[in-house]
Every structure is written in structure tokens, then in C-alpha cells.
Assembly symmetry: C3
Homo-oligomer: 449 residues x 3
């Protein structure tokens, strides 16, 4: 990695020390350095990747170390590899063969990694860290190619990555999970659930994802109104999704109680689905409609479709990424295609239209290309996933046995549980006061701590 960076990667004019000369040439002020346009959004995206995705997956009772720790590992590995892969495709300076990086590359690397983290959600608790690194290595590579086709060949727009990130990442993960199907996963069923505090930890992930999603969708939009509008659309869509999710979760459960799984996940689907169209003139009510439908299908997906997937299609989807990423991502692609096809200079203004759809296409044609882009994303996801899944099936990666899934013990030094000690001590003392030596065994629990 160091060698590749040494050979290929350099600063771009806005991050290099020649900026004062470059600035004078361009007649910029210091503030017009891209850093000030994008750095706050970058940090929000960064939080989503590391805290958001990491903590969202901590819901399992004994896989919190793996969730947040392996998320950290593959994200840190992925961003380096993504800077190279995306650099070759997008930021290569043909004069000297170097990749010139700036803050936008960092954001794109975070985006690229998001695709792999989504895929991790499907196989959470069932693969080894080495398998995850392989998954990420190929995932980033596939992502860079797919993104190149969608953005640079088809000239489709996908600011928030509904197609490029979510649909691709979702189907990539599901396909891998399909290839790696474990028929005897039931053996570790008792570990495949949450405890009270692990659900609260997961809400940290949910909320940071939810709050910063407007930054995710607006981070690489056009300066000015593009970023502004994308943030508003995402904010509205997400707010709408939350209401639908709570309503459906409560109505569809027999007991009328809310289910934490839905609250943790489906509330985010609106951000996924509005990704492609975020920059467009979707209109505030359009965003609400998208959010409403997304909350609906995502929550119902958790109730009906995830069990169906597992039972009939042999796809074990630990985090339910089909309902949070794959399906809403595809829906987002459709919304984007429709909105693009319906775009007109009346709504956008002459200049605004050209600013957003930088190519000389009429709106319906752009809509068609958007739809084509969605197909590319799904094909890459499924095809790539099956390919990588087969590689991961090789018996050389040290994955755990079926009965040890969803358990940190196998890969982490887990501290011995002692939360019980204080009451046990007391209880034990009390026992002794009662001269009741029926259960001397409790001493054992205390001593070993």
C-alpha cells in the first residue's frame, strides 16, 4: 500500500503547497478552497461510516466487539484501497500519471467503503476478519468500476449513491450471503438476538446515521443550491420515514408493541431512497412521499420478507440489509429516473438545468440513462457478490463453525463477565449469615473474577 501510494498519490492543487500561486491565478480567496465547501460534510460522513455503521451493528448481544471493531478495520483498509482505485478511474492526472487527491477524494473513499460495510451487514457474525478484508478488497474494486461506468460512461447522476452505493452494496452482500449459506446456523440461534443495552448501543448508530444523512447525500453535490437542496430533501424524507416506521411497526405486530429492529433500521430507509434524486427539484412534498413509501416497504420487509428470504431463497441476512439498503436503493434509482425524466427548464431554470445535468441530453433520455445505471449497479452487485462469495467459500479463511457464530469469543479477548459479582457477593454473605451452606458454589463465581 505504501509503495502504491508512493508511486501514484500526490496532493491536488487545492491541498498542495503551491495553492497560493494557484489561488492567485484563479483569482480565488482562501475560502474558495474546496476544503471549506466540503470539510464539514466530510466529517459528518466520516462519523456515519465509523460510528454510524459500526454501532448500528452492535445490536447482537455478544458481537459488539466484532461489529464495531471489524467495521473499523475494513473501513480503514477500504478507504486506502478506494483512494487508489477511485483515483485511477477518476482523479488521474494524465500529464504525470499521478492521482491528485483532495477532500472530495476522501469523501468518495468513505462512500466507497460504505458499500462494503453494507455488505458486511448481511454476513455479520458469520465470517472471519480475513474474509472481510477479501470482501472489501474486491468490493472496493467492483465499486470503482461500477461507479466509473455509471458516472463517467452513462453520465447518470447519483449524488447520494442510492444506486452506486446502496443498491450495489446491498445486492453484493446478499449474494455473498447466499453463496455462504449455512444450513445449520440454528445452532447459534441463542446468540442471534439482542439484550437491552446492546439495543441502546445500536440506537447510537441509528441516530448518527439518521442525523448526518443530509450530509451524506449533499456532500458531493454542486456548490451552492445543489448541496442546500439535497440536505433539505433528505431531511424531509427521513422525517417522514420515521413516522411511517413507528406506525407500521406498532400496527403490524400482534401485541401492538414497537420492535427495536424496525426503529433501528427502517427509519433510515428514506435517506437511502432519496439519494439519487436529492439534488433534483424533487420538491418538499416529493421527499415526504418517498420517505413514506420507504418506511412502509422497509418495515414490512422486516416483518415478511426477511423470513421469506431466509426460508425460501436461502439468504441469511443478519442485519436485514435487503430492507434497509438493497430495496430502498433500487427504489431510489427509480425515483431518480422518474424525476430526471420529468425535469424541465421551467422548473430548474435554463442555467440550473445545465448545472445539474451537465450533458446535452433532453430530460427523458437522461431518465433512461438513470434507469440503465440502476441495472448496472444491481448486475455488478449480484454478479460480483456471487464471484466473491465463491472465493470466500474456499476453506482457507478461518471462518467459525455454525455453533460459534455471532460470538466475539472466537476473535477477541473478551473480559470475564463480572457485573453479577456485587449482588452475588451480597447474596452469598446473606446466605452465610443464615448459616445456610446449601450453595457454596457461588464462591466459585466470585473467586475467579
Amino acid at each position: 500500500m505504501i509503495i502504491l501510494f508512493g508511486v501514484f498519490v500526490r496532493y491536488n492543487p487545492e491541498s498542495g503547497a503551491h495553492w497560493p500561486e494557484y489561488r492567485r491565478m484563479k483569482n480565488f480567496t482562501d475560502l474558495e478552497n474546496d476544503f471549506y465547501f466540503r470539510y464539514p460534510s466530510f466529517q459528518d460522513v466520516h462519523v456515519m461510516i465509523f460510528v454510524g455503521f459500526g454501532f448500528l451493528m452492535t445490536f447482537l448481544k455478544r458481537y459488539s466487539f466484532g461489529a464495531v471493531g471489524f467495521n473499523f478495520l475494513i473501513a480503514a483498509f477500504g478507504i486506502q484501497w478506494a483512494l487508489l482505485m477511485q483515483g485511477w478511474f477518476h482523479s488521474l492526472d494524465y500529464n504525470d500519471g499521478k492521482i491528485k487527491i483532495g477532500v472530495e477524494n476522501l469523501i468518495n473513499a468513505d462512500f466507497c467503503v460504505a458499500g462494503c460495510l453494507i455488505a458486511y451487514g448481511a454476513v455479520l457474525g458469520k465470517v472471519s476478519p480475513v474474509q472481510l478484508l477479501v470482501l472489501t478488497l474486491f468490493g472496493v474494486t467492483l465499486f470503482a468500476v461500477e461507479e466509473f461506468i455509471i458516472i463517467s460512461v452513462l453520465h447518470a447522476k447519483d449524488a447520494g449513491g442510492s444506486m452506486v452505493i446502496h443498491a450495489f452494496g446491498g445486492y453484493y452482500g446478499l449474494s455473498i450471503s447466499w453463496v455462504l449459506y449455512r444450513p445449520n446456523l440454528g445452532k447459534s440461534k441463542h446468540m442471534n438476538g439482542s439484550v437491552y443495552h446492546s439495543d441502546v448501543f445500536a440506537m447510537i448508530g441509528t441516530l448518527f446515521l439518521w442525523m448526518f444523512w443530509p450530509s451524506f447525500n449533499s456532500a458531493i453535490c454542486n456548490h451552492g443550491d445543489g448541496q442546500h437542496r439535497a440536505a433539505i430533501n433528505t431531511y424531509l424524507s427521513l422525517a417522514s420515514t420515521v413516522l411511517t416506521t413507528y406506525a407500521i411497526s406498532s400496527l403490524w405486530e400482534k401485541t401492538g408493541k414497537l420492535d427495536m429492529v424496525h426503529i433501528q433500521n427502517s427509519t433510515l430507509a428514506g435517506g437511502v431512497a432519496v439519494g439519487t434524486a436529492a439534488e433534483f427539484m424533487l420538491m418538499p412534498y416529493g421527499s415526504l412521499i418517498v420517505g413514506f413509501f420507504c418506511g412502509l416497504i422497509s418495515t414490512l420487509g422486516y416483518i415478511y420478507f426477511t423470513p421469506f428470504l431466509e426460508k425460501h431463497l436461502k439468504i441469511q441476512d443478519t442485519c436485514g440489509i435487503h430492507n434497509l439498503h438493497a430495496l430502498p436503493g433500487a427504489l431510489g434509482g427509480v425515483v431518480g429516473a422518474i424525476t430526471a425524466a420529468a425535469a424541465s427548464t421551467t422548473v430548474y431554470g435554463e442555467e440550473g438545468f445545465r448545472g445539474i445535468f451537465d450533458f446535452n441530453r433532453v430530460a427523458p433520455v437522461q431518465g433512461g440513462y438513470q434507469a440503465a445505471a440502476l441495472c448496472v449497479a444491481i448486475v455488478f452487485g449480484i454478479g460480483g457478490g456471487i464471484f466473491v462469495g465463491c472465493i470466500l467459500k474456499l476453506p482457507i479463511w478461518g471462518d467459525v463453525a455454525d455453533e460459534n457464530c455471532f460470538d466475539d469469543e472466537f476473535y477477541w479477548e473478551v473480559p470475564e463477565e463480572e457485573e453479577i459479582v456485587a449482588p452475588v457477593l451480597e447474596y452469598n454473605n446473606h446466605m452465610m449469615m443464615n448459616k445456610n451452606s446449601a450453595i457454596p458454589a457461588t464462591n466459585y463465581a466470585v473467586e475467579r473474577s
Copy 2:
């Protein structure tokens, strides 16, 4: 909601696609889009609303799902309703009857929701989600009217919302709690307390509120020095409050130990109290003085006043919002009135004075209007709270019985507790090794998990 948004809500010129033309007309650069002035502050406020308020209330041992989950629900509902209500009062374009929204509206919607979340603190654990939605529906409506009177009729200044948000929200919640008084709440007393880890979760809320409060108070200040000064004043006031809180908490307790309730809440009071005056030339030492007194009265409030409220005034205030929001908010209004009355062009400069107090009033008159504004906020809070409390008392909202308060079981699918399993298993195994079958019952706990 979708229909109302469809009829009324549109983008404003800075978030619409006509921005390139608008920008040229105004001779702006892209950076002068309000998005770049306010978006980072908006995100900080957003974190405060969803993570800050949400996690601050997770301190109860078995109401963390409700705290963070219902906070999420009513905030997401409230911001949509607030965009409409505040839009009609503040952002209506009279040419076409549409509300034009931009990033400042999003911040204001978050502010508006904050008032309702404060009120939630008083009734935490004692009301149903439907009641909370009703509380929010009316709360946002009252807020918009009250804000209109204070800001647009009285032309009072309240950048950080000491009066508009905190005093209103605090008294609104307390009045509701007074109407909904539960004489037999003692039945669920064993649930009205914290456990070790729930207190740590609550500190996440405290810290994010504390850290981002400078953004809260500066988010909608004037560009330039206004935002800058508001952030500094808030930062200093908060730092000062922390010291006072620790000192009082330790000195007033008989054991000399610190109480987590004070640390979680009173440390924030300085941010509330400096809200109105944040933008003024309060001077750094003035901020420290405000923070000092706030830490003092807030901590003493927890020690003496909350029990008094419950015993003699029949107000059950779960989170102690009287000490964190109502009283410091009122104090902030007073500080604001005094600071405004004492303002002079010597200190502010001719231009600065006009920039902040945009109306042609002399300083003492402005001080009087500030005081009037505080009265309006409190009257709306108490009056509105009693009115809404009476509605919520109707027996149609499905609230829980006294003995089920502060318990997630009633509204959430709570995972079965298994943290105990590992030691129990061990203990049990050990028992069996001892051939001691005195307590076969432990098997039960293991099996059902």
C-alpha cells in the same frame, strides 16, 4: 402532512435551482449561500435534538428504549409540523402564498421541537406515545404563535431561545405534569431510578448537549460577529456552570459524594441562561457570572426544589426540567432584558448596535420589551400546558397504569435479559458437579433464553 406540504411548501431562492440566476443578480459567490453560514451549526443542533435530548433521558434503568425512541418519534413528527406552522408565521411569501424553506427553517424547526422535548422530560415514563404526539402537535402550534408574538410583534431578541424555547417548554411540561398528577406513582418507584450503565448512556446525551450548545445559541445569530460572540459567551458560561455544579453537588450531599443527576443536568443550565443574551456584548466575565449563578440555582433546585414541587405542588417532574430549563430559561430572559437595557453605542458601535437591535428603540425600551417577551413565554407555557394537560387527561389515549410507569415493557418488544446466563450456567454446572440438586430452578432461566 404530504398534502399540506404539497400545497404550501417550496424551496427558497438559495435552495432552489434558480440560485445561479439569483446569485448573479445579488452579486454573490456560491459560498455566500446561507448553507455555508449555517449548515455546520444546523448539524450540531440536530445532534443535540436527537442524540442529546434522546440520550439525556436514558438514565432510567428500564426506560431507555422509550427515552431515545419516543424522543426520535416526536422530534421527527414535530419538525414536519413545525416547518408548516413556523412557515405560515415567518416564511410565507405573500406573492404566491407559499412557504419558502431553506437551512434556517430547518434550524428553527429543530428549535421548535426542542420545546416539546423539554416538556417530554417532565412526563417521561408516564405517558403513551399517542399522548406525546398530541403534546407535540399542540406544543409546536403554541410555540409558533408565541414565537411570532415575541419575535415579530414585540421585536424582542432571543437568539438562543432562553425564553422562546426553554422557559416556554419548561413551564409547558410542568403544567401538563401538574394536570396529569398521579397520586399513586409510588407503585412504580422501584423503576424510577438508574443503573450504572444507564447513567453512562445519559452522559452521552449530556456531553453532546454541552459541547454543541455554543452552536445552538449561535445558529441563527447574525452572520459574522454575532455568531462568533454567541459561541464564545455560551462556551464560557457552560464551563463556569460545570465547576459550580461539581462544587455544590459535592458540598451539599451529606456523604460528600457527587450525584450523577446533577452532573447530567445542572452542568447544562449555563447554556440555557445565556441564550437570550448570547449575541449581546455580555462580556466574557458576564458569561462566567451567569454560568456561576445558574449552576448554583440549578443544583440546589435538584436538591431542594424538585422534592418540594412533587410534595406540595403535585408536580411530578421526572427529569427535573424545572431546574434545567424552566428556571434557567426565565433567568436567561431577565439577563437578556438587563443586558439589552444597558446596551449603548459606546460598547456596540453605531453600526453594531443597529445590526443587533434592528429597531429604532432606545436601549431601556428594548429592555422592557425583552421583559414583556419573557412574560409572554411563561404565560403561553403555563396556559397552554394546562389546556393540553386537560386534553391528555381524557381516558382515550392508552396511558399506562401507575404501577407500569417507567417501564419499556408496555410499549416495546424488550429482549429477554440474558446477561446473567453465562455465570448462571457456570454456577449451575458447578452445582451439578457437586451433585447438589437443591436448586434445579436455575435451569429454567437458561432454557427460556
Copy 3:
């Protein structure tokens, strides 16, 4: 404190109400107020100080209140004192003898406090809050002097504070810990460890530190390319460190399992080490190399050096700050010296070179001064630490006995543990159903809750 602020502290021209006149005079727009350049970075740094450092230290099973609570206390105290101390040295207006503060002073105050929080890491769980306040009082004072010598006398560059903050803070804490050596600390050994959920809490701290470190290192860099480049270098160095840490942690452990202590701490070492050189033209591969070596020495430090320190040098380093701050900080100083010595106008451009090394020195001389600065930082750290350690050794500060270390009970009202209640109740009920009264004592545990 209030009096000192009253006498000395005023707003600077960018945060005072005379800004409109100042702005006109300088021909600035509102956006060129320093607030917009630095406020987002300030907030990130603020999060690092309060959430990052606070939660990083929550890993102990029963010292989470102390970790996050005392961190809060000393940070809030320290920033006030730092504004004064740093103000006298750096921001004093000689015309009127006042300290003029703006957002950059707030960032610097946060930085200054970071040094003391690092020192807290070494003595975590072993000192009283009063001792911590004394540690901070002297620490901030020493920091201000040391910073003055390094920045204003030697004119060394240290944007991210590898030397000024980390090397100083690290050796300061280690020296104090050495003076306060507790030979019988083994008595509380059972408390000096983590439980499952406390490790997850600590990961919150780790991740927020990790994510926002690019802001830390870039916060006070030059506008434009300086901030941009510092963020990129830090991002790359940190990513590289994560990979090395995981690899070493897994390879060096006999069981091949990952150790949470390494993941929580060593992953951050890359950010420390790249601090001094962050603004320089370190090149992306240079950052990766720095990160790689830092992950290596930091992880190996935890495995071999911390036990060695404790056994042979009588330094008890609770959080292992030697491996996370002291050593990487010193390494960062060396990297900075080398990079500065190797700087040339070919790489930086004429203007860029002058912009960064504002003095008329040739590069090798600057390198020498950088090395001298590192020595100053270490000498201040060790000397100051021994001096303050001796003061803290006086028997008047109320520190805890050896057997009560690492336990919140002594300073906090700790809630009684009840997580066990539900299963016990059940178990108890079951017992009663079985008419088995062999262990009536369990009633006791339930009743007292």
C-alpha cells in the same frame, strides 16, 4: 476566575460588535470572519476533548463515572484557566493590557486541556478530584510557558501538537505517576479491568477521537492549503495505523485473538505522530509510513513496554499513555524535524515555503529548532511532572486507599445494581412454585432494590 476575566478578557475585533466597521476597513466579507474558517474544526476538537477523551477512559468496569465525569470537570476548569494563561502569553493586546479572544483562542484552550487529560490517563482511578484540579492548574500553566518557548521563542511549527501537547502531556503524566507510585496497587487489581459493555463505551471514545483527529491537526493551520493538507495527512496516517494495530495485536497474542486495549488505543497513535508534520508536504505515502511505524511501536508498547514500565521503572500507567501519547508524540517531533530539514522551495513553491515557515531560516536550521522544541517539551513534561507529583504526594488531597482504586464508590453516588432483578424474580417465583424454600435469601436482593 470571574474577577480575572473581568479585568483581563475582552472580545477580539472579529467577535466584538465593532466587526462591521473592522470588516469595512479590512475590506472583508462576513464569511472571512475567522469563525467560518475554524468553527467546524473547533467543534470537532471539542467533541474529542469531552466525548473522545472522556469515553476512551470508561473501559474500567467500575470507573466510568470517574472517567467521563472527572474528565468533564477538569476540562471545564482547564479551558477557563487556559484562556487566561495562553492569553497572557499569546493574545495580550499591549495597548490596553487586555486579552482579546476569538474562536482560535477557544481551540487553543481545548488543546491546552488535552495535555492535562492525557496526564489524567496515567493516574486514572488512583487520584482524587482535588488532585486532578491541582494537576490541571499546574499542567495548564506549564503548558502555556512551554508552548510560548516552542512557538514564540524557537519559532518551531507544531500544528497538531505532537510535541507541545502529546509529548509534554504524556511525560507529565508518567512523571506524576512515577512520584505517586503505589506499591500495593495489586489490592485493587480485581477492579483494574473491563467488562463487555465498558469496552463498547470506550470504543465510542476511540472512534470520535479517530474520526475527528484530522480536525485536531488542521484546526489552527494556515487558511487554505494548510488546513486541507493537514486533514489529508492525518486521515491517511490514521488509516494506516489501524491496519498495523490489528495485524500486530492478532499476531503477537498467543491465542491469535484481538485485544480491545490495542484497538482502543494504538489505532490513534498515527494521529499523534503526524501532528507536527501534518501541515508540511509530508506526501501521502509519508503519512502512511508514519502511521505504519506508529501502529507497530504503540501496539508492541502495550504488549511489552507497559509491563516493563510498571515492574522496573515503578510507573503505573493505567491507560498506557506512554504508548499512545508520549512515545508517538516524540516520534512526531522527530518526523517533524526531519521533514522540516528536508523542505525545499522546489516542493513547496517560493510562496508556500514562506507561508509555512514564516521565518527567514534555511530548512536544516528549522529542522534543528524543531528538534530543540521536542527537547523542551520533554524536559517540561518530566520536570513539571516530578514537581507537581511531589505536591500531589502531600497527604492533604484526600486520595483513596490502595484497595479502593478504580472504584467509583468513593466519589460518586453509585446506583444499586439491579440488572439482576428480573431473572432473580423469575427464578424466585419458580422456586416458590416448586414449594422449594431452600434459598429464601433471594428475596432480600429483590426487596432492597
